[in-house]
Every structure is written in structure tokens, then in C-alpha cells.
């Protein structure tokens, strides 16, 4: 299973890539495969403040609809508007073009609370 070593992971299958005070968030390859073909991603408003674990959107696939949970607290700086026309990017490139939101992190040290790649691999039984 594709679990990049340079990311942090939540138990709800979101990944976080930190870059100084910013963080990029998406869902993992495992989550994308479990969901199946994604058909719609409901994105949060830019400027919204998210607590760690807060629901910030919904991801809908041919199988099911699931909430998206913020792996870390912060303010929404940017959302991936490309998902509006091409939700399939989540399946095709979950760690790249399928990113979902960019956050200004309230407390970058919170990232330490998330799993590292090895921890996430053990979570999904990989």
C-alpha cells in the first residue's frame, strides 16, 4: 500500500504534509481505494477555523458518503477547486493533485500527535 514516509496520518485516514506554518491535507490511498470512485467532494469555506478532529467536508463515492475530519487545528487558507470538475483526482493521485485543503496551522507541534508512516501502515494492517 502506498504510504509515503514524509507524511503524518490520522486514524480517520487523512494525511498531513507540513511546510513550516502551513499544512496540506488529503485522504490516503487506502481511504480512496476503500471509498471507490469519488464523485463529489464538499469543501469548506476559505477562512474557516478548524479544530483538530472537526468535520470540514464530505467526500462522496459511488459506494458511500463520508465526513472529512481535520487532522490538525488551523485556518483554511485554500481549497482544491480542481476537485469540483475532477473529483477523480482523489483516486488517481491522493497524495498529489488530489489534495483537499491547505491550512495555516494553529500549532504545528500538534502534528506530533498524528501517526507516522509506520504507525499508519500498522493501522491499516499493511
Amino acid at each position: 500500500m502506498d504510504v509515503p514516509d514524509d507524511l503524518r496520518y490520522s486514524d480517520d485516514h487523512e494525511w498531513l504534509r507540513t511546510d513550516g506554518a502551513d499544512g496540506l491535507v488529503g485522504i490516503t490511498r487506502y481511504a480512496a481505494d476503500e471509498l471507490g470512485d469519488v464523485v463529489f467532494v464538499e469543501l469548506p469555506a476559505v477562512g474557516r477555523t478548524l479544530a483538530r478532529g472537526e468535520t470540514f467536508g464530505v467526500i462522496e463515492s459511488v459506494k458511500t458518503a463520508s465526513d472529512l475530519y481535520s487532522p490538525i487545528s488551523g485556518e483554511v487558507l485554500e481549497v482544491n477547486d480542481a476537485l469540483g470538475a475532477s473529483p477523480e483526482l482523489v483516486n488517481e493521485d491522493p497524495y498529489g493533485q488530489g489534495w483537499i485543503v491547505r491550512l495555516r496551522l494553529a500549532d504545528p507541534s500538534e502534528a506530533e500527535l498524528l501517526r507516522d508512516a509506520a504507525g499508519y501502515r500498522s493501522l491499516i494492517g499493511d
Binding site: 471507490g36 470512485d37 464523485v39 463529489f40 459511488v62 459506494k63 458511500t64 463520508s66 473529483p87 477523480e88
Partner: protein
């Protein structure tokens, strides 16, 4: 196959083909033989021939168009299909044969979609005294219907073990909203205004959190315990002075009765909250468990499930709400009341000032209410208990048989439905539950609910209902076991299934992402099943 309008001449509505037919390819030659259950039909537009018509209006009024202003009259006739009456009838009859229906075969979706609806209910609902009564008829002219509704209020209250019932809500989710609004009114009437949370276990119906949100509450979701029941510690941790209600789907979507129901209710009431029971699955416990007697405060019943009424395709349904005595003042108005002289009437405006008001026009889905009344009267109390017992027995029998090849993630026995998991099958063969569902169609069955509840991996949710014979249950079990064998022996078959249907596996992702909502003729490679 579909007709090919580009070849000119009359398109022909093909009869339903049973068995193997030859497939004609686009160049007119015969393609490979393929098993087909029933064939697609040309559209009415494709069948149209200019000048063909169904009938003449015998005496068209000469001045029919005279009253329409000139600028609103169209100058040319609309481009409507032109067909003969038998063509139209055959078109729709043949189309209807493409559907799998409960009247055509076993349907493991259970009462969520459709259980068998006794035909006597239809006769009752069509009696002109009920069917043709004007909804605004004064009470004096509607005594028969009012009496039926009054009796039904009482019967449903008895089934629920509650003090009173409103028949107004039009469906289960509407009943939930009504029940939660009644709970809100109760807390407010006591000045207990800080209760803004509703607790919902993750095994509840998806409509429960939606209901809470719609009524202005914040939803607090708690995880299930490993046995599928409510996690008491999580519930106790979430309960507090802000909890307005706890909503429990019982039996849950896993088909399990909530074994810790006594503790759940005690904890809920100790926190000053009220307990709501989603009674959508009442067909598993009707006559055997009365929620009000267990101290639930509010519940709804899905008459179109438990008490039978056709409801495939979205309704109409009926979701009456039954409440305990302390909530009666808040129930929607008007209820049907009986006067001391034995006549019946609707409550008058302001008669119950605490009422949350109307939640639906008139008296609800009266046609559905008549069917439910007929169902209850034809069964009687012992008959309703037998319905429950048979539904539970059928589900447990099927569960046991299916368990020979499928994982059963929760210990039995189950209630009216059970979950099986295809997780092991997927690991061993790469075949997913979606493939299994599609392959079941080839075996002649409508697939059961799949991928719900969400908390079970590669889930199948199977509800046989109370009316299937042992032979029918065995045949369905054999089909599921056969599919499991096929998954090991010929997994590619399942990836490609269904193989015998007029359209093969649909591209659901593209259909959802880029839906084409306008009809246009399909030609060549655009036909639904290009080779």
C-alpha cells in the same frame, strides 16, 4: 439490444427474450451468442412514424382553441412521438418486465424497500368511502374515516406501549423530525433551554443525525461496542446537561436488538434527556417488545415497512409518532378524538395549546393508514406476533446457511436482518462485495443492500422478511454460496458480472460525475452494451 434508428424504416419493439439470443452487430452481421434475460426497448421516439396515431377524439369541441389568445397559440404541432395504442402498451409493458420486483422474485432488500403487501389491503384502501373522501370534508361527513384513524391511533399506541400517537408524518424521517421537535418543545416548556445536543450511535439510521441537525441540535456520534450494541461508557461520557435526547435505532442496522437497553435508558433519563427509538425496524419486535413499557419516551413507526404498503420508488409512506404521557401535550395537532356520544372529530384550533402544530396537510397519507389498519385487523394481535417471529426465524435460518461461506461479524442470533462480510473473500480472491452483488443478478436475484452499515467491511445486509417459504430461502442461500465458490474458481466472471442482463455493468462513477440528463438517440458504440 436497442433498436437502431439509423437503419431507416420502422423500428420494431422486440418481445422479451428469454434465454440465449443472437446479437446483431452494427454492420448487420450476427455477433457472438450471449445470454440475455430481457432486451432493451427502443424509445417511443424511435418507434414513431409520422401520421400514425392512437385514436380520434370523437367530437372535438369546435371552439376548443377560441379562448386562447393568438400570441399564446403555437404555430406548428409539437414533435411528439406518433404511435398506435398497442405499440404504446407493449412498449411500457415490456419496459416494466425489465424490472426485478417482489411480485416476480425473492428480494433480499427486505422491508426497507418492499415486503409482500397483502392484496386485501389494496381492496380496503380503494373502497370509495375512503378513496374518494374530500380531505376538507366536514367531520360529520367523514365519520367512517375518522373512526378508522382514531382506532389506528389506539392500535399503534398499543404496539408502541405509548399513551398517544399522531398519524400525520408522511414517512420515517418525517416522523423522526416530528418526534425530536416534540422533545424540543418538552424541554422548552420546562425552561430547560440549554439542551442543544442529540446523541446518536454510529450504528443508527443515517436519517437520525440529519433529523437532529434539522431540528437545530448538534449531533454527537458515539461509537458502537465491539458486539454491535451501544458502548455504555461512550454514552455515559457523552451524556450531560446539554443532552436533549438519545436516538436509538432498535433493532440496529446490524439487525441486533440493543441488549443493554435498560442501562441505556437509565443513563439517558438520569441525565435529564429523553430517549427516542427509531422504530423503522419494528417488524422485528412488534408484539414482543413495547418500547414505551421499557421507558422510551418517543418513537416512530414506518407503516409502509412494518404494516405493509407498497412504497418502492419513494412513497407515499407514513411515519406515525407515538409518545409517552408526559409528551402528549406537545404532539402535532389535530389528533382525532372521540366524543362521549361516540362520534369522532378533529381537535379544534387551540384545543391543545402546547402542540407543536401541524407537520403535514390534512390527516397524513390516509391511503397508507387504511392499508395499515387493514393489515393490523386481518392479523390481530397474535398474528402480528407471528409476523415478527417468522421474520426473525427466516433471517436466522438464512444467516446460518450463508455463514457456511461468508463471515458473520456479529454473534447471533439476529433479529429480522443480518450482516455478512465479504472481507475474507476479498482478501482471498480479489472479489469485492460489489462484484458479488452484480453476480447475484445473473443468478436471478436482486442484490441485497451492500456497503451499509458503514461500520462493516465489504458488507452485505440481508433481510428476507416473514413471507418467504423455506424453499425460497434455501434457493437464495444456494445462490450466495454458489457465488462464493465462483469467486474462488472464476473470479474474472464476477468482475465482469452481470452477464445476462440487457445492460452490463454500468459506469456509475461517470454517471454520477458527468450525468447526461437529456435523451438523444444512441447509435453504434454509444449503445448501452457495445461489444
Amino acid at each position: 439490444m436497442s433498436a437502431r434508428p439509423d437503419t431507416g424504416g420502422d423500428a420494431v419493439a422486440r418481445p422479451i427474450d428469454i434465454g440465449l439470443i443472437d446479437r446483431v452487430t452494427d454492420d448487420g452481421s450476427l455477433g457472438p451468442r450471449r445470454a440475455v434475460g430481457a432486451s432493451l426497448q427502443p424509445t417511443l421516439a424511435e418507434l414513431s412514424v409520422p401520421g400514425r396515431r392512437t385514436d380520434q377524439v370523437p367530437h372535438p369541441p369546435a371552439d376548443a382553441l377560441a379562448g386562447i389568445p393568438d400570441d399564446l397559440l403555437r404555430s406548428s404541432a409539437p414533435a411528439l412521438p406518433e404511435l398506435s395504442e398497442p405499440q404504446v402498451m407493449r412498449h411500457f409493458t415490456n419496459l416494466s418486465h425489465l424490472n426485478h420486483s417482489i411480485d416476480g422474485g425473492f428480494y433480499p432488500l427486505g422491508s426497507c424497500t418492499m415486503k409482500h403487501n397483502p392484496r386485501v389491503n389494496e381492496t380496503a384502501a380503494r373502497l370509495p368511502g375512503f378513496a374518494r373522501l374530500h380531505p376538507l370534508a366536514p367531520d360529520t361527513l367523514a365519520q367512517g374515516t375518522l373512526e378508522l384513524l382514531w382506532e389506528l391511533q389506539g392500535m399503534l399506541s398499543e404496539v408502541a406501549g405509548m399513551a398517544a400517537t399522531t398519524l400525520q408524518p408522511a414517512a420515517g424521517a418525517h416522523g423522526e423530525l416530528t418526534g425530536i421537535l416534540v422533545i424540543r418543545a418538552y424541554h422548552r416548556a420546562r425552561g430547560d433551554v440549554d439542551r442543544d445536543e442529540v446523541i446518536v450511535p454510529d450504528s443508527s439510521h443515517g436519517t437520525n443525525p440529519a433529523t437532529a441537525s434539522m431540528a437545530g441540535f448538534r449531533t454527537v456520534t458515539i461509537p458502537s461496542a465491539p458486539d454491535g450494541g451501544v458502548d455504555l461508557e461512550a454514552l455515559r461520557g457523552a451524556l450531560g446537561p446539554r443532552t436533549a435526547a438519545v436516538m436509538i435505532t432498535n433493532p440496529s442496522t446490524l439487525g441486533l436488538f440493543e441488549r443493554r437497553i435498560v442501562e441505556v435508558l437509565e443513563a439517558t433519563h438520569a441525565a435529564g434527556a429523553l430517549a427516542y427509538m427509531d422504530g423503522a425496524n419494528m417488524n422485528a419486535i412488534m408484539g414482543r417488545f413495547r418500547p414505551g413499557a421499557a421507558s422510551f419516551d418517543v418513537m416512530h413507526l414506518n407503516l409502509h415497512k412494518t404494516f405493509s404498503t407498497p412504497h418502492g420508488g419513494g412513497g407515499p409512506g407514513a411515519g406515525p409518532v407515538a409518545v409517552a404521557a408526559h409528551l402528549v401535550p406537545f404532539l402535532p395537532a389535530p389528533l382525532v378524538v372521540r366524543e362521549t356520544d361516540g362520534t369522532f372529530r378533529l381537535e379544534r384550533d387551540g384545543e391543545r395549546p402546547g402542540s407543536i402544530g401541524r407537520v403535514r396537510a390534512y390527516q397524513g397519507s390516509v391511503g397508507v393508514l387504511v392499508r395499515a389498519y387493514a393489515y393490523i385487523r386481518t392479523h390481530g394481535g397474535p398474528g402480528l406476533c407471528r409476523v415478527t417471529d417468522d421474520a426473525v426465524l427466516a433471517a436466522n435460518y438464512l444467516r446460518q446457511r450463508v455463514g457456511e461461506a461468508w463471515d458473520l461479524p456479529y454473534a447471533g442470533p439476529c433479529k429480522h436482518e443480518f450482516v455478512a462480510s465479504g472481507a475474507r473473500l476479498r482478501r482471498e480472491t480479489g472479489v469485492r462485495t460489489l462484484d458479488v452483488a452484480k453476480r447475484l443478478i445473473d443468478h436471478g436475484y436482486h442484490p441485497p443492500t451492500v456497503y451499509f452499515p458503514l461500520i462493516v467491511e465489504e458488507c452485505l445486509l440481508i433481510e428476507p422478511t416473514e413471507t418467504e417459504t423455506l424453499a425460497d430461502l434455501d434457493a437464495f442461500a444456494e445462490a450466495l454460496l454458489a457465488v462464493a465458490r465462483e469467486a474462488h474458481e472464476q473470479p474474472e466472471l464476477l468482475h465482469e458480472a452481470p452477464l445476462t442482463t440487457p445492460v452490463r455493468r454500468l459506469d456509475e462513477a461517470t454517471a454520477a460525475r458527468r450525468p447526461e440528463l437529456r435523451w438523444r438517440p444512441m447509435t453504434g458504440a454509444e449503445t448501452p452494451c457495445p461489444q
